[in-house]
Point group: C2
Chain length 316, copies 2
């Protein structure tokens, strides 16, 4: 969300959280509510497509806030002439992803625009979850000394999209990715088993950490060596001059918990198939700095800032 444009107009305490989901109270029920539009290009990529991405993304935005995903809406914008067979495949992927996540697609809308007025297909998904987690998961709860934990390797989704684009352009890929190079788009539903301070969907690790640091006015120190990155993703980043911290993820989250709980949180996470590569990547420093400091592999330090543009656009 372009916060600068929207906040002055829409200002209210729900929106001002600026987190993955709004947490709402209706009657005695605590709910979370989120929305995302998907414009990924290409729409089919190794391990997924725009449809599965749209379901997993919204499920994850609910889940990281401690919500149990319940209901989802879908809004399709189709370009005239979009192949019916592709639409069927995408819808089937959405149904499968929704079934796995235990979320029901209960309402929808489809608009068709003339050829040239959209790029094939765009999908919006909005989701409602029930907040069952007793604690308050919020970046406002992060404290100095907290451990910063990633649930797995970063950049897999971005690398898979880059690989697809190479093929999409008609030629064979110039890059020799491993056969296993696939998006990491999965659903993260599940309640925290240990007390946490915050949990955030990690679409671009560097950007989300910088946003959290600024929003919560804290300094986050991370160590390059601790950040889990697959070898083939690191390779493609080195060749193309990309930074894994800014490459896209799906199904990845960053957690903040008291340092004293970090070991047991990590042990629990590693038992889960989506947390096998989980790692403590840093900690929250004392003081109000609003920045992320990366200790590089060669011993230097640099600020990890919000990117001014998109490194690889249309990754979701």
């Amino acid at each position: 969300m372009v916060a600068g444009s929207f906040l002055p107009h829409f200002s209210n305490p729900y929106l001002e959280r600026l987190e993955d989901s709004a947490v709402l109270t209706i009657g005695k029920q605590k709910l979370c509510f989120t929305t995302d539009s998907y414009v990924v290009s290409p729409i089919f990529f190794p391990g997924g497509n725009i449809g599965s991405l749209a379901v997993h993304g919204t499920v994850n935005d609910l889940a990281v806030c401690g919500g149990k995903p319940l209901f989802m809406s879908t809004g399709f914008i189709l370009e005239e002439g979009f192949p019916f067979a592709s639409l069927e495949t995408i819808i089937a992927s959405m149904a499968k992803a929704a079934k796995i996540a235990g979320i029901s697609i209960v309402t929808g809308d489809t608009k068709v625009v003339p050829r040239g007025a959209a790029d094939g297909i765009f999908i919006n998904t909005s989701g409602i979850g029930i907040v069952e987690y007793a604690g308050t998961l919020s970046i406002k709860s992060i404290k100095a000394g907290d451990a910063v934990i990633l649930n797995g390797t970063i950049g897999d989704h971005g690398a898979a999209i880059i690989k697809s684009r190479e093929i999409w352009d008609g030629s064979r890929s110039h890059f020799r990715f491993g056969a296993s190079q696939r998006t990491n788009c999965r659903n993260l539903k599940g309640q925290p088993e240990h007390p946490l301070h915050a949990r955030c969907d990690t679409r671009r690790a560097g950007a989300i950490l910088a946003e959290i640091a600024k929003s919560a006015n804290i300094q986050i120190n991370i160590s390059e060596q601790s950040i889990p990155v697959q070898d083939n993703v690191r390779g493609i980043c080195e060749i193309l001059g990309l930074d894994p911290l800014y490459l896209a993820n799906e199904g990845k989250m960053v957690l903040f918990c008291p340092a004293s709980d970090a070991a047991k949180v990590l042990t629990t996470m590693k038992k889960h198939k989506l947390g096998v590569n989980a790692a403590v990547i840093g900690n929250v420093a004392a003081g109000k700095q609003g920045r992320v400091v990366l200790k590089t592999s060669i011993g230097g330090e640099r600020i990890v800032d919000l990117p001014t543009g998109e490194l690889v656009p249309r990754i979701c």
Copy 2:
């Protein structure tokens, strides 16, 4: 929604209602949930713009189901280079429309796609409301003998869009619309004061009546003479060969109530500024026919069917 493609995959009792909103139960709370994407062209038109339309449309989809609109999400897809001033105007209109409707915009998302990958701006709005109306407003509740009531003149929004396109094309409008030719986009929030069987948002009167007749498997008889249409809208329809029944509306709804209550429902509606032109336009016949029969002004009869294409595309 392209029901034929989606229903076999997403099948669940909420979606199968195929009404303006899904009615959900979370805990002890009865909620309604709806989504719509807006791709209207042009984005500014007399009386509104894509932003106010997106808020009113979703508020109305909640309201017709007996829901009190509470929370809304916004998903923006912007074409690179979309003027910032236009975005600001649209956002300000959304904030104003939301304030009038008493709904809070609590979560949002913005995607930017390269020039040529979208037509300026598309907006998705999803909304959550609390269902306070004790009865069940559903097309499944419609009974033979029910009166069919429209809350006002039809086709005003469609005519306003046609007028804007004339101007948008660079030339002066060829049509001499009255100065008052504006969209009828307004919010319809408010609970029914009399027992009703169903209430539906009436984007295209003919299409929605045909959908209801098919879905509820009833025959709806309507009389052309009873249908409220502004003189200048009727004029433009005659010149261009358009049917007001298929021209777009915003802020219009069709109600079904027992015939014995029709007079008092109409009296109540006429007291409201958005119901001044309300009229009984027909009734529900006995038997299961799944069709709408129009008695024409010259005394003939014709079937009002679902249009095979869009008469005037991109009206919302």
